[in-house]
Structures are given as C-alpha cells and as structure tokens.
C-alpha cells in the first residue's frame, strides 16, 4: 500500500488527476449524460420543469436499478443474465402483496390441484411496508441462489444465470399467467411523483406545505430513492472487505485467493446484491404500472439493456474496474437517447435502428484505443 501524501497544493491536484485517469470511463459517461440531458431540456418545450424531471425519473429508475444490479457480478467478472427475470418475478409478487386492500389480501396457492390458503396479508400501512420488505427479500434470495449455484455448483455465471433466469420467469408466469393484480394507489402516487406529492400523501411536513420544504419539493422521488440506494447500499458495500474482494476477484481471482480474500463469499455477496437491486427495480416497475406482468420479452430487453448500461458506464466486462454509479449514468444515457426521439419526432419505426447504431458507435469509439497499441500481444488479455 502506498502512503497517501498530505492533501496540500499540487499534490492534491495530482491526486485528482490520478483519480480522473483511473475513472476515465465513468467521467466520460457523467459528462456525456450532462450534455445530453441539458440539450434535451433546452429542446423540450417544458424543459427544466419538475413535471419533465418526474416523468424522466419514473422512466429511468427501473433500468438504473438493473444497471446497478448487473454491475456487481460484472465487477467480479461474472455476468448475470437473470436480472430481468428477477425484476419480473419480484414485480409479480408485489402485485399480490402491495394491493393495500382494506381488511387485507387473502393469499391462495393452487399447485397440482391442491388448494392451500396461506393466510391474509395485512392491507394497512404496516402491510405495505412489510410487503416492500418481503419483495426486496425475495429479490435478494433469488440473487443468493444464483450466487450459490455459481460458487458451490461451480457453473459458469453466464450459463448458470441463464438457467436460473428461466426458473424465475417460470415462477413469475405461475404467479401472473396474464397481467393483473393491483398496487395501492397512494403508494403509486407517493413514489412516482415529486417530493412535495410524497409529503402530501404520507402527511408529513404539513402535507408538504412547510416553508423550509418548498425549495426541495420539486425533486422527483425516484431520484431521491436512487441516490439513497446508491449511498446507503452501494457505497458502504464498495468500502467493505467484501466489496473490495469483489473487485479483487474480478481483476485476478487466483491472486485474490492466494491473498486470503473471501473469494466465495465475495461472489455470493455480488450476486445477492444484484438480486436485491433487481428486486428494487421490479418493485418500482410494479408500483409504477400498478400491476404485475410476467412479460418475457420485457425481461430479456431489460437484461440486455443492463449490460449495455454497464459498458457505457465505464465498467469493463472483464471485471475488476468500474462502479455501479457509472452504470447508473450509463442507464440514464440510454434512456435520454430515447427521450430525444420524442422531441425530434423521429419516426417510431426508425427508433430501434438509431438505438442500435448509437450503441454500436459508443462501444466502437471506446475501442478505438486498440489502434494505438504497438505490441499486438497486449490485445489478448
């Protein structure tokens, strides 16, 4: 370990310069997003307004969570092809547990002709909070199962999660053969609007009318949730021993093992955290759409977009470098690009083509560095 020099004058600038160089992918993603988003708001007739922000926040949240979910296994040089499936499954559970029906929701289980009554799930505020916890726990459990299959089954992550993803989609289809269910209206309203609406719905801060609260009342709740999850879950994890072990496993698993790092636990933790993040995304999607839908193409699209977000956000698919924060920006860049289609009135039929071309262009420009490589051997990492 290098001793850190005292942060004074030029040495501090050096420190910043080194950090920027180490995180050039993330910095590029953040700058690109800022430029795109300002342009978008300038071009939008109602740009820079709370309404636009709220709408964008709702559209971004689920993909941003899935991008975070995908990042953690990728950092450990695994890939999780089940994030979309976990999202879908958790959404289907949420459509049963978060109905908010007065008197509670009776839960039945029909399996192989058996009809079981599981009990009544409370419908008041405690029931909703409990439902949220249960949904997130289901997501984390699915991720934990992935981790165990990868670590103890010693099956390659990409193929293991392909298989478990099929199982999770099966469970989602079992729960919701057709789209349906319902989500408490207040919950939907509180989480998919601005902080002011949230305060008014849950009756805090004088229903959101308190004077000191006004300057922040315009902020969309999804953004707040995103920042909270990043600060309260991702940052502590990254700084923990397990988080560092995830990075170490991704850059050199053998070296990590020889150094005595908890390799197995790091991998399981990475997949569990991925399941948790994917669960957050699924929960929000269900709340936002007020229903559960076992939509297989949608699950696939979210999984693939999460991989794209991770790459655009500056995380190497080889593992070991990058950050979930970068992936959030990667996801936001992907989404903002589709916002532009609405503004500039691009024919809907041409939109998939542009999305594909932009993705290809982004990764190809990022790869142009290989043309400067002098020693061909360096290419074969």
């Amino acid at each position: 370990m290098l001793q850190r020099r005292p942060a004074l004058g030029p040495s501090m600038l050096d420190d910043v310069a080194i950090r920027v160089r180490q995180n050039v992918g993330i910095v590029t993603a953040v700058l690109l997003f800022c430029v795109l988003y300002v342009l978008y708001n300038l071009a939008h007739p109602k740009g820079f307004s709370s309404a636009v922000l709220v709408q964008n926040g709702d559209e971004i949240f689920a993909l941003a969570m899935l991008a975070m979910a995908q990042t953690v296994p990728v950092l450990a040089s695994g890939l999780d092809l089940s994030v979309g499936a976990v999202m879908t499954m958790v959404g289907c559970f949420a459509s049963y547990l978060l109905t908010g029906t007065a008197g509670g929701t009776p839960l039945h289980l029909d399996l192989f002709g058996l009809h079981l009554f599981l009990g009544t799930f409370p419908g008041d505020i405690s029931g909703i909070l409990l439902g949220i916890v249960v949904c997130l726990a289901i997501g984390a459990l699915a991720g934990f199962v992935n981790g165990c299959v990868v670590v103890y089954g010693r099956i390659q992550p990409i193929i293991a999660t392909l298989a478990t993803g099929a199982v999770y989609i099966g469970i989602a289809l079992f729960l919701r053969p057709t789209p349906g269910g319902k989500i408490d209206e207040d919950l939907n309203w509180a989480l998919t609007n601005s902080l002011g609406d949230f305060a008014a719905t849950v009756h805090i801060f004088d229903d959101g009318a308190a004077g000191w609260f006004a300057p922040v009342a315009w902020i969309p709740v999804p953004f707040v949730l995103l920042v909270l999850i990043a600060l309260l879950v991702w940052v502590p994890f990254r700084r923990s021993v397990l988080g560092r072990a995830v990075y170490a496993v991704g850059s050199a698993e053998g070296a990590a093992y020889m150094s005595g790092l908890p390799v197995d636990r790091a991998k399981i933790a990475a997949f569990t955290l991925a399941g948790f993040f994917a669960g957050c995304g699924g929960l929000f999607l269900a709340i936002q759409t007020s229903s559960g839908n076992a939509d297989i193409p949608q699950a696939g699209a979210y999984t693939l977009n999460s991989i794209a977000s991770v790459v655009i956000g500056g995380t190497s698919l080889l593992g070991g470098t990058g950050s979930a924060i970068g992936s959030i920006f990667g996801a936001m860049i992907l989404r903002v690009i589709s916002f532009f289609f609405r503004i500039f009135d691009i024919a809907p039929l041409l939109q998939p083509l542009f999305e594909g071309l932009i993705l290809l262009a982004a990764v190809s420009i990022g790869a142009l560095g290989v043309l400067r490589v002098r020693n061909t051997l360096e290419l074969f990492r």
Binding site: L79, V149, G153, R154, I155, Q156, I158, I159, A160, L162, A163, T164, G165, A166, V167, I169, G170, I171, A172, L173, F174, P177, E253, G254, Y257, M258, V263, P297, G300, L304, I307, A308, V311, L317, L318, L349, L350, Q351, P352, L353, F354, E355, G356, L357, L359, L360, V363, S364, G366, A367, L368, V370, T376, L377, L379, F380
Partner: protein, 319 residues
Amino acid sequence: MTSASLSLSRDDRPILIAALFILVILVAGTVYTFARFGSAPLLSPTYLLQQLQIGAFLGIVAAGMMVVILIAQIDLSVPWTLAAAAMMATSIGGPLAIPVGLGIGLLVGLVNGIGVAYLRVPSMIFTLGVNAVMRGLMVAHTGGYAPQTAATDLMRTLAADRTLGIPNALFVWAAVSVLVAVMLQRTALGRYIYAIGNKEAAAYLAGVDTRRVTVICFVICGVAAALAGVLLAGYSTKAYQGMGDAYLLPSIAAVVIGGTNILGGRGRYLGTLIGVVLIVLLNSVLSIMDMPEAGRQVIYGLVIIFMLLVYGRGERVTS
C-alpha cells in the same frame, strides 16, 4: 467416480450422460402417454422425425453458435440475423432468394467478426448492438408488420417436403453437421479454433492469424443463423417479426449441455448434436404433458443446471 467413466475421455463423458438423459426423457414420456392415453407416440418414427424436423432449425443455429463459443466468444445477434435473412429472402424471391438470405448472414458475421477481432469490443456487447441494428433495419423495412411476401418453392421444398419419407430439413442439418464436424476435427482451421479458445495469445505466438480466424468463426455463425432463417421461412411459408427470438438461448443451452465449455477451447460437435436432440425432445414431452408455460420454464432451467452439475463443473481458481 467409477472405472467405466474413468476410461472415457473428458469430452466424451458429457455426451454419454446427455444421451442417457435423452433415453430417460423418452422412457418417462412414454410411461406418461401410455398411462394417460394408452398410446406411445414418442416411440413412433413418424412422430420422432417430425420433432427432429422442427429441431433441425435449432440444430443449424447451434452448429454456428458452437463454433463461436469454441473461440470463447458469443453471438447474441443470432435472433435478428435469422429473421433478417428470412425476410430478405422472401422479399427478393425467385432463384436469388436463398443466396441473398445467406449473404445477409455472411455480412452480419463479417461485421461482428471485425468488431470483435479488430476493434476488440467484447462480443457480448458488440453482437448485442448488431442485433439491435438488424432489428431496426427490419422494423424500418417491414413497417413492424409481418411481411406479406411468401417463401419460394425451393425454400419450401428444402424445409417442409420429404424425400424417401425423411424430411429434407434433416438432410440440410446433416450436411451442416458433417461440414462443421469435419472442419473442427480434420482441418487446420479447426485446430486454430480450439487453440484460440484455450489461449489466444499462445495461438498468436504460434503463428496463427487469430483475428482472421475469429472473423471466419463469426461468419460461420452468421451464415448458419441465416440458413436456419431461410429454412424456417420455408417451413412456415413466410417470414415474421421475432421469428428468431426463440433460438438464441436454446442454442446456447444446447451447445453447453453437449459438453462444450462456455469459456471456449473444449467440446465436440457430437455433443452439440445430442444437446439439440435433448432440448427438442424435452420440449415435445412437455407439450404432450400439456405443461403450462410456467412449468416449462422452470423445468427447462432446472434441467440445464442439473446437467451442468453432473458434468459441467469448473475447477476452483486457486493460483
């Protein structure tokens, strides 16, 4: 481990176990149909041939996918390469239909190969982008609807007709299989492919133009997907949106169940063949059982995990 399995080579064990599992599926399915309907359709050659005819499309896609997986890459552009080849072949029509369809596959494979081999973009993301572009092109071309154009007579003959009671699609699959198997086992290119999958830097130092071989592998995969698309369009008399979506994950699963290492460098073509048959039979038994989609997905996932737990386990990285 018993002495019988010790005498088998590392690459043969998965093939044998997968073949045994096929027998288990056949027996279990037959017991079920006999108990429920008093008949045994799974043992009738007509039914099996019909199932294999449907399996031929998956088999051809899997053959191409295997070549790419052997060099430790993956091709996610298969779904829309397949659909694009089918759509262009039907819209061109006439004697040029099949060459144009295969040409689409060749072109896509070339782009994939250049991106992966020369730009060094991870294949996972590059082929994903190419898939999106192909989808975009086809949506713009067809307007998002199923194209009205029909498959040519030759396409229908190749995919849907029979010769001497055997579906022609099986002959095409057999021809592709022979080509790929011979290429992998008897040619220098095949040796290069396994070498690159094991260690690209070593293959390069040994004098292999690894980047050109990578491009060739992606071209093979693209053309195989295009051929499957052309045949599928002939089988269903026309092309339709999303016709390739059902082929991506099953083809990867078939290759892996057949004992090919997803990290490249190891695996035999016979295994892929067995893997395809296993997946096709599993699907047909589940549909005979009237299994709802939910149960199918769960069983499908569990079978993949089970097979890999039996013989696909990796080794611990300890140094």
